[in-house]
């Protein structure tokens, strides 16, 4: 439905997009995820025709629209910040979008009502944007973008600047609207949680390039490279050294990890997610492959759980979650444990699998 090939955008010397390609199938919900400044918004504006790419093509619904003006592209656009017309009411905003596409006024009126009802805004139709709350404005903007019955719906970080509860509500609302209308959607965000929870498929951008693509689950559980692994979730970095080449074995804090494949270089980075770390305080460390004596650095409460940071013998800091408000303080001893299978090992940015921990083997044969 939407396909972008070799999209490149340079401003003077600065390359914002470097030959980016992506495609979205009809009815799919794809999220473009990446840190600030990675070129997400530029991609969206180039698709909509508001930024002229230096090179590359954009096609929508099978038609090459690279040289078409925005008004000939059939893109519904929702911006990061409010872009409702302030001189029109909610109803007029939606009707304005509808007008070029349907001259029949009665039908128009019905459709405006339907759209506003779809997001529960029928009662606020007569209000001007400044009389609406932030969440209400976002809802009107969402259906305004749908009013033209666009081939592609483009959403540029639509939840930015809203508070947590409202983000949660609107996230559900967007998912619901997508389910109902089945509109092909490209959603841009820097928020991993939004991306993981909303999308059929994720495209991860870094520095104007696609660095990862797949379902949320596949990317989260089997990240193709170090950037994707650390961007999709916070993780500790364990710096291990290669102590043997065949089989490749990396050592960290007295534990040895057997790697698969042949890693380039002898610096191996092992990434470990906080959720995969057990601890002796709760008794969750013992059953793990690897057990390390560590010291508490910091315990900070998050409500349902606390985030505890410990220092491993080699100085590495690891975070882990402990239920409730544990009685842990800086300097306390706390052993931590994890399973070798939960590690992501990277050599030179590329991933190599960890098959098992060596010490775990010894334990198996006492």
């Amino acid at each position: 439905m939407l396909s972008v090939t070799g999209l490149t955008k340079r401003y003077g010397d600065e390359t914002v997009l470097a030959a980016l390609s992506l495609s979205v199938d009809g009815g799919e919900f794809v999220t473009l995820l990446g840190p600030s400044g990675c070129g997400k918004t530029t991609t969206l504006l180039a698709i909509a025709g508001h930024v002229t790419p230096t090179a590359g093509t954009v096609s929508i619904g099978g038609r090459d629209v690279t040289d078409s003006p925005p008004e000939a592209r059939s893109c519904g656009l929702v911006f990061q910040q409010d872009a409702l017309f302030p001189h029109m009411t909610a109803r007029e905003n939606v009707a304005y979008a509808l007008a070029p596409h349907d001259p029949d006024e009665q039908r128009q009126e019905r459709r405006v009502d339907d759209l506003l009802s779809l997001v529960g805004m029928a009662d606020h139709a007569g209000k001007h944007p400044e009389q609406l709350s932030g969440g209400q404005r976002r809802r009107v903007e969402l259906v305004r973008a749908l009013a033209t019955d666009p081939d592609v719906l483009l959403l540029d970080e639509p939840l930015t600047g809203l508070d947590r509860a409202l983000r949660e509500d609107l996230r559900a609302e967007i998912a619901r609207v997508h389910d109902r209308t089945g509109v092909t959607t490209l959603y841009v965000t820097h928020d991993q949680t939004e991306a993981l929870s909303l999308s059929d498929r994720l495209v991860i951008l870094d520095d104007g390039r696609v660095v990862g693509e797949g379902t949320p689950r596949s990317l989260y559980e089997r990240p193709p490279n170090r950037f994707v692994a650390s961007f999709l979730g916070p993780s500790a970095e364990l710096t291990a050294t290669l102590v043997s080449d065949d089989p490749p074995i990396a050592a960290w804090c007295g534990h040895e990890f057997v790697l698969e494949g042949s890693p380039p270089g002898d610096q191996i980075t092992l990434l470990l997610r906080p959720d995969d770390v057990g601890n002796s305080f709760e008794g969750t460390a013992t059953a793990r492959d690897v057990r390390v004596e560590a010291t508490v650095q910091d315990a900070s409460h998050r409500g349902p759980h606390s985030s505890v940071t410990v220092e491993a013998p080699d100085g590495t800091h690891l975070s882990l979650a402990v239920e409730g408000f544990p009685d842990l303080h800086r300097g306390d001893d706390l052993a931590v444990g994890f399973d070798a299978a939960d590690l992501f090992a990277f050599a030179g940015g590329e991933r190599c699998a960890v098959s098992r921990s060596r010490e775990a083997e010894y334990y198996d044969e006492p």
């Binding site: 003006p69 519904g76 872009a83 017309f85 304005y96």
Partner: protein, 262 residues
């Protein structure tokens, strides 16, 4: 709020009050003098004729400046191109150029003995000492006001609103009418009103290009030379009233004029 009623505020306020006092003083003195004479009786036929001339020419000059100036303002606000700085300089030039110099320069372009002016004078359309000349002088001097103010107005319209409109299927011109112009309306109107004020008060360039037929400002000068300050009172009062209406209008629009950065 935050700053009011604290101790060292008076330094600023006191210095400012001096200037305000100086702005207010002639106003008070003039109104004091005026109430002494009886303005309505003193209106000469020259003054009447001048008022008609001004009230015909200034709106025409304002209309010309608006029709061509607003699109220029929009172009300057929304596009970047080579030589834009030069175009901006050209727009500001009539604003900072002394009006008599503007008048002299206009004369070298459209005077009776120049190619353009001579040709049109031959067709009976004299560009000097005619209402056409007055309009030309007023347009030259006053047009920057509407360009500059409207440009700032368009620049303050969020570009994403225009992008949204385009993506809904509206072309650039339709988007201008439905989105850009309504949202910049206040500033555009303020610019038009200021251009009108500048046009109807134009003196230096008009003196050079079209000393005849008289406009209100040139008539004031003629009456002053022949009859002193008191003779100027009826026309001066009329122009003062127009100025006050202009200020009221800009304040109503919510846009008192400023000369801020663009």
């Amino acid at each position: 709020m935050t700053w009011l009623g604290r101790r060292d505020h008076w330094v600023f306020a006191a210095l400012g009050a001096v200037l305000l006092g100086y702005f207010l003083f002639p106003f008070v003195a003039f109104l004091g003098r005026t109430t002494a004479s009886a303005p309505a009786e003193a209106v000469s036929p020259t003054a009447r004729e001048a008022a008609v001339n001004s009230l015909v020419t200034a709106p025409v000059a304002t209309a010309v400046a608006t029709v061509f100036g607003v699109p220029l303002a929009y172009t300057l606000a929304r596009t970047s191109f080579r030589g834009k700085r030069l175009v901006e300089a050209l727009v500001v030039l009539p604003l900072v150029l002394p009006p008599v110099v503007a008048g002299a320069m206009l004369l070298t372009g459209i005077g009776r003995f120049t190619p353009v002016g001579g040709f049109l004078a031959g067709l009976g359309l004299g560009l000097t000492d005619s209402r056409a000349g007055i309009v030309l002088a007023q347009t030259f001097v006053a047009a920057p006001f509407v360009v500059i103010t409207a440009r700032a107005g368009f620049a303050s319209v969020d570009r994403r609103l225009e992008q949204a409109s385009r993506s809904m299927g509206y072309g650039r011109v339709a988007t201008f009418w439905h989105v850009s112009l309504p949202l910049a309306r206040g500033m555009v109107l303020a610019g038009v009103v200021l251009t009108f004020a500048r046009a109807i008060g134009e003196f230096g360039a008009t003196m050079m290009v079209a000393f005849n037929p008289r406009t209100m400002p040139t008539a004031i000068w003629v009456e002053f030379v022949s009859g002193g300050v008191d003779a100027t009172v009826p026309l001066a009062l009329a122009l003062l009233a127009i100025s006050l209406l202009v200020i009221l209008a800009t304040q109503r629009i919510g846009r008192a004029p400023t000369l801020a950065g663009w």
